[in-house]
């Protein structure tokens, strides 16, 4: 999922301070799973913003709604019936959702309520870790299902650096050395000889190095 964390409340208060009525929109997908921007968090933020602004004598009306997701225009259409009289919109979705709302409602300022972090998975309840950086040319098939691009601090492609000590990365004791993990996985799979296969220098044009990316499915696009 795409993980995110709510922005500090003081930043959000400053965004909404000038307005009388705002629409606070949550998303039922990734940000719900990482407890940052789902229906519950929308309720919490609306209540918090109201109470914070009350203390400076301002009454703000906050309409709350949570969409199934905000990255498809069909879902954003649901907001059309709620947007009348609203001065500004705040979205608790990831950056994709905020921009889609901004694209749809060009005449109203749109603010993000969360900082979008990374593509990751749950390690255990309440803990999410980065797993994928969308490099565009997945090599998980040759690294035992563990990604050295997302999980190696230096994105090394052919084994650990000298900073790998006791299975940990030199940047922090909390970060595993991914090449240690890959080697251990090869051993579990009985594929140690795969470790000797050299992965050539990566062509980063399929990643962010090539500029903003787009996928067009000719069979689906009108």
């Amino acid at each position: 999922m795409i993980t995110a964390e709510r922005k500090p409340l003081e930043e959000l208060i400053e965004y909404v301070r000038p307005f009388k009525r705002i629409l606070l929109v949550g998303c039922n997908e990734c940000v719900t799973v990482c407890s940052a921007g789902g229906r519950k968090e929308v309720g919490l933020l609306a209540s918090g913003l109201k109470m914070a602004l009350m203390q400076s004598g301002r009454n703000i009306e906050i309409r709350e709604h949570t969409l199934e997701r905000q990255c498809d225009p069909e879902y954003i259409d649901e907001l059309v019936s709620m947007i009348d009289g609203v001065d500004a919109v705040m979205s608790m979705a990831c950056g994709c959702g905020v921009q889609e709302i901004s694209r749809r409602f060009k005449d109203r300022p749109v603010f993000p309520a969360v900082n979008t972090k990374f593509m990751g998975a749950s390690e255990r309840q309440g803990v999410w870790a980065e797993r994928c950086q969308g490099c565009g040319n997945c090599l998980l098939g040759v690294t035992g299902g563990i990604c050295p691009i997302a999980r190696c601090s230096k994105r090394l492609m052919n084994g650990p650096c000298g900073g790998s000590v006791a299975g940990k990365c030199e940047i922090s004791q909390d970060v595993d050395c991914v090449w240690q993990l890959i080697w251990d996985r090869f051993k579990e799979l009985g594929l140690e000889e795969n470790y000797l296969n050299i992965i050539p220098a990566k062509d980063w044009r399929s990643a962010t190095g090539g500029g903003p990316r787009k996928i067009i499915r000719e069979d689906l696009a009108a």
Partner: protein, 150 residues
């Protein structure tokens, strides 16, 4: 403010805290009428939103009362509640209400005296802290306030 009577909401778990409140009643122990009890099946059922909404509706103080550590009827609901209360305390600081207005307490079902004692202590603590910072905006005559004082 003179004669300020705080409004305190106590989320009490059915198995321990609510039973303790009941015991306080049978033992005729007095505790301040400021405390409004909400029975929940487990303190772990209390959500951050319940707590924050209580403050939004005019509570001056809130506490979550669960079983003693290790004795939760649902294994570790009271531990979850504890962690959740800490999280909401930080949020209340951010909002400006103040995390000191929220507390997590533990007791067993037989501790009627402890229920009464905690209710009294927390009422006094909140009385000293004064009304909630949003008190003047929601006002004495506002319907939201009457939800709790009725």
């Amino acid at each position: 403010m003179e004669n300020f009577e705080p409004t305190i909401v106590a989320f009490c778990c059915h198995y321990c805290a609510y039973t303790a409140a009941d015991m306080a009643g049978s033992q005729r122990l007095t505790y301040p009428a400021n405390v409004k009890i909400i029975r929940v099946p487990c303190s772990g059922k209390v959500d951050a939103l319940h707590i924050v909404k209580a403050f939004e509706k005019g509570a001056d103080g809130v506490y979550v009362a669960g079983c003693l550590d290790g004795d939760c009827h649902f294994k570790n609901g009271n531990n979850r509640a504890s962690r959740r209360v800490e999280y909401v305390q930080k949020y209340l600081d951010e909002i400006g209400i103040g995390g000191e207005r929220l507390e997590m307490v533990n007791m067993s079902a037989g501790m009627g005296y402890r229920f009464a004692q905690i209710a009294t202590e927390i009422t006094e603590k909140i009385r000293k802290l004064g009304p909630s910072p949003i008190h003047s905006m929601i006002g004495a005559s506002c319907p939201a306030n009457s939800d709790l004082t009725a």
